[in-house]
């Protein structure tokens, strides 16, 4: 039988992770970039920065059954560059990396209705959940 976490432990773990996004004196961000995720989470940024979206502060509400739900995410209403969203990087306001994930259209960790981003256009993320799995 695999190692399994209790709901209470999952909630604490999930809260600790999303609370990292709120570190610093400002709000955490999601950078949308072209190309694949870097090999390691802590590697230097890769791809072209297409846009930056901003979390609320705090970014997420309290976890329930191991899942936290993001509060409103501020759109980027003037994207920095044109390209295909390939991956995203989540940082705190001191630019420390918290996590990264894939982006796609109909797929990926962040699922855009259209992963094509146009410079000075709008990028919106309407919903985001963060889950600590049971095992």
């Amino acid at each position: 039988m695999a190692l399994r976490l209790s709901t209470d432990t999952r909630n604490k773990a999930c809260d600790a992770q999303v609370d990292d996004i709120d570190a610093g004196s400002g709000a955490g961000t999601i950078q949308i970039r072209t190309g694949s995720q870097p090999t390691n989470v802590g590697d230097a940024a890769s791809g072209t920065l297409l846009g930056t979206l901003t979390f609320s502060d705090p970014a997420f509400g309290a976890s329930s059954t191991g899942t936290a739900t993001a509060s409103s995410i501020t759109s980027d209403s003037s994207a920095d560059a044109s390209g295909t969203a390939g991956h995203a990087r989540i940082l705190d306001s001191d630019s420390n990396i918290v996590a990264d994930c894939t982006c796609g259209q109909g797929s990926g960790d962040i699922n855009f209705d259209d992963s094509t981003i146009v410079s000075e256009g709008t990028i919106a993320i309407s919903s985001m959940t963060w889950t600590q799995p049971i095992s």
Binding site: T29, T48, S75, S77, G83, D113, S115, G121, T122, A124
Partner: protein, 181 residues
């Protein structure tokens, strides 16, 4: 992070007659494969614009349901308006299939961006909170280093965005239309 709910949307730009003419000029000077796909997509837009917008009712766009602007306002609620069946049939031969769109994206992704990140971080002010009276978010600064390259890439990807929307059988909801609501 698989199997978790994270949804978003992107909004390109309106294409009027002047912009279409400029896109044709840019395509003429582009690398062969880029020129080929840009010309295809320009023709697609021209054919699409021969008829008026769909009269079908729209449904709330999930991409904008819970998003907001920098000053804390809710982003305008947008609707996804489906194309009429007759319109879908009319433009069918001009709209790329999803797999073709993937190929087009890969070709356009090879275009130089014309910009670079300066390495500086700009602190963009945000509404203060009780915990963060000097609230901000860090935005990496970028600068345009090759305006011509940037213009070509922006044109190519705007056309690609239009193709993506039409491939989804919906009226393209542009950045301009979104923010004019």
């Amino acid at each position: 992070m698989a199997n978790q709910s994270r949804a978003g949307g992107t909004f390109g730009h309106e294409i009027d007659e002047a912009k279409l003419a400029r896109y044709k000029e840019l395509a003429a000077g582009a690398p062969e494969e880029v020129r080929y796909y840009m010309n295809q997509l320009i023709e697609m837009v021209e054919v699409f614009k021969k008829t008026g917008p769909s009269k079908l009712p729209g449904t709330p766009n999930p991409a904008t349901q819970n998003a907001r602007t920098l000053d804390g306002r809710k982003i305008p609620q947008s609707l996804i308006v489906p194309l009429e069946e007759e319109e879908i049939r009319r433009i069918y031969d001009y709209v790329p299939y999803p797999k073709e769109l993937d190929v087009i994206s890969k070709v356009f992704d090879e275009l130089p961006t014309g910009i670079r990140q300066t390495g500086e971080i700009e602190k963009i002010p945000l509404p203060p909170t009780p915990e963060k009276p000097n609230n901000f978010f860090p935005k990496p600064k970028t600068e345009v280093v090759d305006p011509k390259a940037k213009e070509l890439r922006d044109a190519a990807f705007n056309l690609r965005w239009w193709a993506g929307q039409l491939c989804l059988d919906r009226e393209p909801l542009t950045h301009q239309a979104l923010w004019s609501q």
